[in-house]
Amino acid sequence: MYLNQFLLLAAFLFCVGVYGVLARKNGVLVLMSVELILNAVNVNLVAFGAFHNTVVGQVFALFVIAIAAAEVGVGLAIVLLIYRNKQSIDLSEVDLMKG
């Protein structure tokens, strides 16, 4: 089996995800970009698990999938809260405080 193809796919997904988180202004799209990074992780874990001939990689991937679902649930709730109060999910408008 060629491990490299999976690693390259994961690296590409990771980069797309990080770019999306940094560049996108729409709250929901930012959440989707985070999902892309987490899926890059899953591809990595399953590929490495198969490479080492162990089930640990798949178990780790299952944990990541389950917890990512919980995380996005909270994230969507926060975005919804902001939509209720501001009628917008444009993240660049959420700037009451300046770091």
Partner: protein, 502 residues
Amino acid sequence: MGGLLLAAAGFKAPNLDYAALSPEIVLTGVLVFVLLIDLVVDETHKYLVTQLAGVGVLVSIIPVIALAVDGADRSMFGGAYVVDNFALVFKGLFLAIGYVVLLMSTRYIEEGDYYEGEYSFLLLSSILGMVVMSSARDLITIFVALELLSIPAYMLAGWRKRDLKSNEAALKYYLLGVLASAVMLYGMSLVFGATGSTVLSEIGRQVAGAVGDQPLVTLGIFLIVVGFAFKVSAVPFHFWAPDTYEGAPTPVTAFLSVASKTGGFVALMQLIFVGFFGREEVWGPLFWVLAALTMTVGNLVALRQTNIVRMLAYSSVAQAGYILVPFAVSGDSPAAAGTAQTAMIVYLIIYAAMNLGAFSIIMAVARKTRSGEIASYGGLFNYAPGLTVLMTVFMFSLAGIPPLGGWFAKLLIFQSALDAGTPTAVLLAVIAGVNSVIALFYYASIAKEMWMKPVPDEDRSPIGVPAPLAAALGLTALAVVVIGVYPQAVARLGDLAHLASR
């Protein structure tokens, strides 16, 4: 299907050591109980739920003490979950922090008309995540514990639902927290790929050997450290911290700046000292740069803040920088690793006491002035002498002036850097020394405001401090003063709680 059942019948359950898990079991029981009780208690008696949660946290400390008296190291699931002195010290610390934060929150959440029962439940869940984190010696366990402590914290930061600032605090904390854990996970997947194991002790064995030289491991360690740098708000990954701290409800800010940060450091210590100790040349310089930047930027920006919560936010960024110093020098020699661990454990304990105390004072004063501006502290001594004295104690402790707890913590940090003895370590100690002097300016400016300035609006009516908040103040002040006068006790604790680094 038949085959599956057959396979299931042959399943041998792993050996569970219920005694080792007892703090987690009790705490889980308490948080489920709190959620159920919240259902049946009517709106006017919700404070009972918070009190119940407080008692529950205290009860969970009992098994921790029992395990500490027993003293045996317990290890489960092939070394993935370890209960040793390190774990017990931090379990105790997290439960104590949880109790103080619950004391601080009691009246605040009630008077703000926020959801009280769910607040206690989420706070307890987050504490459970930290308690699990203290024992986690496996990549999967660390990840699950990290999310268990973070996800409730995202919700707590946005607890004031109608307040746009609180919304913004939650959003910024959530986005950067999720990005950080995703980056950290990517690093973990690479480390798993290089070693084929998720148990830290096994990773440690392999990383110290031939596998350690692979670039895969280098990149993995780098990404994991960067992920946790977000969590502990190290510069340049600190941008969320001041905004989140300002917008979140004040007791939640205290919780985030103390407990959540300590959780990140506990995970980092386990990863570095158990897992990655063999690759000092990767993480040593990384921590050196993070520590120097975090101390300097945190202190310089704190100098020009006019809001006290923002000032304390940058001060806690700077304090994270001091705690990173022992990390940077710990790889120089095995002896340095020992002193570095003691320094970090002691610093985290003392930092928890003094920072929680400072936030309690802010909450007490804000009950009267309804403001977070430093100018509103003018002439505090004239109408609240007790609070003024305590605030001065906490500020000077944070600045590191003897005989208060903070000086001993700082002393150990300098000692760890000088023990390592290399030129870079000594340079870092010098940077930390210069920073302590800079920090004295803004901590002392608060004291000057309280003792010497006139009262801004000539309103000298006294401040009523509710009993739970007064208890929180008393506990933290006692800890700061006792540790400052008798530091050997915590130092001994720090010496006993070393992780075995390979």
